[in-house]
């Protein structure tokens, strides 16, 4: 049970309980179970900060939530233009939730561009809070509005609240020691105050945040806090805002939570992997959207013995990581599609060397440069097969932002235990999306410590102790990891085929066949947990099976069907190579298996190929956007109906 944080501004305490007969009275408070709000403005308007603060307030209140920031693509467009729009969406509820929401019900639009860009997504009948001060002729023309949409009937399907946010903010700050420009820049805090009032969020933590952030500029802190309060009070007093909403806390598992993005969770999962394995972490990376933030985040954590090398290119990045792995570090490399493609030759070397290596692919829309800021799941086949020769590697995919942490630990376990590269397939949606994360207990950190080889491991014909660098662990098929510096175990490794055992170059046909099969068997034999099916009723004929970031939307869709009494089973694949041992059996239980993917059917092809007899139905959209749970619900229902 969540404990709602206290400390709302004074006015908030005077709220009136909902009264169905007085709905139109001022300050009616209405209970909602969930709401989706989107803050949208120019890149310079501070929408990400606004969203982050609203999220923090909401989290403290005990709601479950999920967020999705949306930055302008690639380039910084001039202020007030459509490509310059930045937005932040939050979905929060009194139950656990799975996605940042299909359609916002509330849109805060700081300028005409933000209105125009986001209106198509708004739920019909939704609320629009709009900054009228920015609706000048000039700004309207900039985005192609012939007429002012606030003045014609184009918004008649929505509840529009026109608020002169800029001038109200400036007005509220008249007595503060800040210039007009700085005052105007606080308008996002005014908006935050207003929306916080509307949804009964406490603003105290934001005040504290602002004081800390602007510790060296107390006048700015003061102005922002004043704007925040002014916004709150404006909601409280302005007649236009007839209703205030309350979303009761969700009943979440007990524990301490924080909000976390996928990239941060991934970086922290790497840090945790270093701690759990007691190895130094070595990241070789080259910046690329949407993976760069992992490099940025890890660069901050040198205190964990994390080395980050910004290499000259992706090939050098993975090469350096592999060199560090050879030296006994946990070698990691992070990139997105184009960079992963470049790394493929070196990953193939890592397969041959049988050294641990973590390769993170934060997938974005392709092919080629594609849509760098948009999400996609179209690198699965490259992860599986994008190397010359038979070069199998392990592949795993996190299913949500916070899940990145645990997935990285799992990937590390696989890499270290089996001495193999592991590809981690995140995507843009997971990378930048955020959700509350129940912080794990340090006592539960797995023990991933490694036994480095330090002694001879065999005897030659004459009974002398010798070291065989490709002598395998009979259970895992892993070879010894004898790092340079280990006395007496000097040996040479390389990309030419090696005799199993000795590691000497071997052109023997039988040995090559044996090695190809052994490397394949090693990956196929990786110990992965069984996949779990959620088939509450036990009557489902259709299974929906996803992987990666579709977890949230699929879950929400399935919940919708279940709520409507429609039977459907659900499972989600974290382990893509090897797949769980029980998967075939599970697939066999259902008449049809629906596989929603943000690609043209990559997992579907693998399932058809690996589990003959399974009737796989793909649901594929490649729009650079996550699925909405509504579309999925419709699609699943359709399959169920058509038997």
């Amino acid at each position: 049970m969540a404990e709602p944080a206290s400390g709302m501004p004074q006015a908030a305490c005077q709220r009136v309980l909902p009264n169905p007969h007085e709905e139109n009275l001022v300050n009616t408070v209405r209970q909602l179970d969930r709401v989706v709000i989107r803050f949208a403005g120019d890149s310079g308007d501070g929408m990400q900060l606004t969203g982050d603060r609203f999220t923090a307030e909401t989290a403290k209140l005990g709601n479950d939530l999920s967020t999705l920031p949306n930055y302008p693509a690639e380039i910084r467009a001039p202020a007030g233009t459509l490509p310059g729009v930045s937005s932040f969406q939050i979905h929060f509820a009194d139950t656990d939730i799975l996605t940042p929401g299909d359609e916002p019900e509330v849109l805060v639009a700081m300028n005409p561009a933000a209105l125009k860009a986001n209106l198509p997504d708004l739920k019909s009948g939704g609320i629009i809070v709009v900054n009228t001060d920015e609706f000048s002729k000039r700004n309207l023309t900039k985005v192609g509005y012939d007429a002012n949409p606030l003045e014609d009937d184009s918004l008649e399907d929505y509840q529009v609240h026109p608020v002169p946010l800029t001038s109200l903010t400036i007005g509220a700050l008249e007595e503060h020691e800040v210039g007009k420009k700085d005052a105007a820049r606080s308008k996002n805090m005014f908006a935050l105050g207003l929306i916080s009032w509307m949804y009964s969020r406490p603003t105290e933590s934001t005040e504290g945040y602002l004081k800390k952030k602007f510790a060296s500029k107390p006048e700015i802190a003061g102005a922002n806090i004043a704007a925040l309060k002014a916004g709150w009070n404006y909601g409280e007093t302005a007649e236009a805002f007839a209703v205030q909403y309350e979303i009761p806390p969700a009943s979440l598992a007990a524990g301490t939570y924080r909000n976390i993005t996928g990239n941060a969770a991934l970086a922290w999962g790497i840090v945790a992997s270093g701690v759990a394995s007691d190895l130094p972490v070595f990241l070789g990376a080259y910046p690329i959207t949407p993976a760069s933030d992992i490099l940025h985040e890890l660069s901050k954590h040198k205190r964990f013995g994390v080395t980050t090398v910004q290499a000259e290119d992706e090939i050098a990045a993975v090469g350096a990581a592999l060199g560090a792995s050879w030296g006994g570090a946990l070698g990691v490399t992070t990139s997105s599609g184009p960079g992963i493609a470049l790394k493929s030759e070196t990953i193939s070397l890592a397969v041959s060397l049988e050294l641990p290596l973590l390769v993170v692919d934060v997938q974005r829309a392709g092919p080629s440069t594609g849509l760098p800021t948009k999400t996609e799941q179209a690198d699965l086949m490259m992860a599986m097969f994008g190397r010359h020769g038979e070069a199998p590697i392990a592949v795993v995919a996190p299913q949500s932002p916070s899940d990145c942490y645990a997935t990285m630990l799992e990937a590390t376990r696989m890499a270290l235990t089996y001495r193999t590269p592991v590809m981690i397939l995140s995507d843009g949606y997971i990378a930048n999306g955020a959700e509350p994360w129940l912080l794990p207990d340090m006592a539960d950190l797995p023990d991933l410590r490694v036994d480095f080889q330090t002694t001879m491991n065999a005897q030659d014909a004459d009974g002398n102790d010798i070291f065989l660098p490709y002598q395998r662990n009979p259970e895992t098929l892993a070879r010894p990891w004898a790092v340079p510096g280990t006395p007496g175990l000097q040996h040479r490794i390389g990309g030419i085929e090696k005799a199993d055992g000795t590691g000497d170059i071997s052109y023997d046909p039988a040995n090559h066949d044996h090695m190809v099969r052994t490397r394949a068997a090693k990956i196929a034999g990786i110990d992965v947990p069984d996949i779990e099916v959620d088939d509450a009723s036990g009557n489902a004929k259709v299974l929906v099976l996803g992987w990666g970031s579709t977890w949230g939307p699929i879950g929400a869709a399935v919940r919708g069907l279940h709520d409507r009494g429609i039977d459907i089973a659900r499972a989600h694949l974290r382990y893509l190579n090897p797949m769980p041992a029980n998967l075939g059996e599970i697939l066999g239980r259902y008449d049809k298996v629906v596989v929603p993917e943000m690609n043209l059917g990559q997992l579907a092809l693998l399932l058809r190929g690996n589990y003959p007899g399974t009737d796989v139905v793909g649901y594929n959209k490649v729009r650079g956007l996550p699925f909405t749970s509504n579309e999925l619900q419709d699609a699943l229902e359709e399959v169920i109906k058509n038997g």
Binding site: W268, A272, T346
Partner: protein, 339 residues
């Protein structure tokens, strides 16, 4: 890098021989380099396990197989990148890169110049035979223009790199050149390279009797070498045969000793900070080898990349209880508690 003590070798050349049969063509210059290396390595004063050789792909890149140290025969062109990862994460190792003119300058050019500008503590030995040996004789980025090979039957129209000029343009702190056939000189250069903190770039002229025989004959043949080979000695005037080297504009020029005033003869100094002198020296001979300096062209101190990276990590990590710090990291910033 591992603390190199250039004295009292307790190991012998044979201790650095691996069990693998050496497999280059008969007469290949690589044999001489290998022998020189094996008898030089004891001088490092390091245990064998503290030494790692990383190579790319090429005839030359088989080098690590024949040394009883740690070794990686990696992929074409990538050895400097891989070695950068090893050298940066391991301060206790002496890391050597062995590469060829194709490996280092063609496919691996980018990693090479970046390792040099960063001054990663690597000893990079470029076996320059001016040809692609392993793939059977195509021209390389150091082949002479007009070269007839299988891939240039009408003559190559590629202008070659001058590897030393390129290294200097890439901010190399240590740049040297030597010859496969002159063991004493080769070892002298290896010694200086080993002692250098940072990237040491050594070009070794290496004969490929199969695909580019006698490419460096001018420098080896007793009839021509005195006229062509210039042995650089720090602090000494540059003379060879009856010739001397003098400054000419921003560059250097060869003159008859008799035509030159003793004080005008250039005194070789490898430790000048401004790379302009070493660059001038690198231009003294082009592809034709008519006046070819060998020895250490440049040897200056500059902070190394790996040391810088490690210092930051060590500073930050000293005294940190990682598990505890991880717990605090997870709980940093805004958190909330559900009871």
């Amino acid at each position: 890098m591992a603390d190199v003590k250039l004295d009292a070798p307790k190991l012998k050349a044979k201790d650095f021989k691996s069990s693998q049969e050496v497999r280059w063509c008969p007469g290949c210059g690589d044999y001489a380099i290998l022998a020189a290396m094996q008898s030089f390595l004891p001088e490092l004063g390091l245990e064998r396990e503290k030494i790692a050789f990383v190579s790319g792909i090429g005839c030359s890149s088989r080098f690590p197989y024949y040394l009883n140290t740690y070794g990686m025969h990696s992929i074409h062109g990538r050895a400097p990148a891989i070695a950068t990862g090893l050298a940066t994460s391991r301060d206790d190792l002496s890391v050597w890169v062995v590469t060829g003119d194709g490996d280092a300058l063609s496919i691996g050019g980018n990693h090479l110049i970046h390792a040099l500008r960063r001054n990663v503590n690597l000893k990079i030995l470029l076996f320059n035979n001016r040809i692609y040996g392993l793939t059977k004789g195509q021209y390389s980025p150091t082949s002479e223009p007009g070269k007839l090979t299988k891939s240039s039957p009408m003559g190559s129209v590629d202008a070659p790199f001058n590897p030393l000029s390129l290294a200097l343009g890439a901010e190399a702190t240590f740049v040297a050149r030597t010859l496969d056939s002159d063991r004493a000189h080769l070892q002298e250069v290896l010694r200086a390279a080993a002692a250098h903190e940072g990237s040491a770039f050594v070009e070794i002229y290496q004969n490929c009797p199969i695909f580019n025989d006698n490419a460096f004959e001018t420098l080896k043949n007793p009839e021509s070498r005195d006229e062509a080979l210039i042995r650089l000695q720090d602090g000494e005037p540059i003379r060879f045969g009856d010739r001397v080297v003098v400054q000419s504009g921003y560059g250097l020029e060869v003159k008859n000793a008799s035509d030159v005033d003793e004080k005008d003869v250039v005194i070789h100094k490898s430790d000048v900070d401004d790379p302009a002198y070493a660059f001038a020296l690198s231009r003294l001979s082009g592809i034709e080898l008519d006046h070819t300096p060998v020895g250490v062209f440049r040897n200056v101190k500059r902070p190394t990349y790996d040391e810088g990276v490690r210092r930051q990590v060590n500073e930050a990590a000293t005294g940190v209880d990682r598990k505890d710090a991880l717990d605090r990291l997870l709980h940093s910033g805004d958190t909330w508690t559900v009871l």
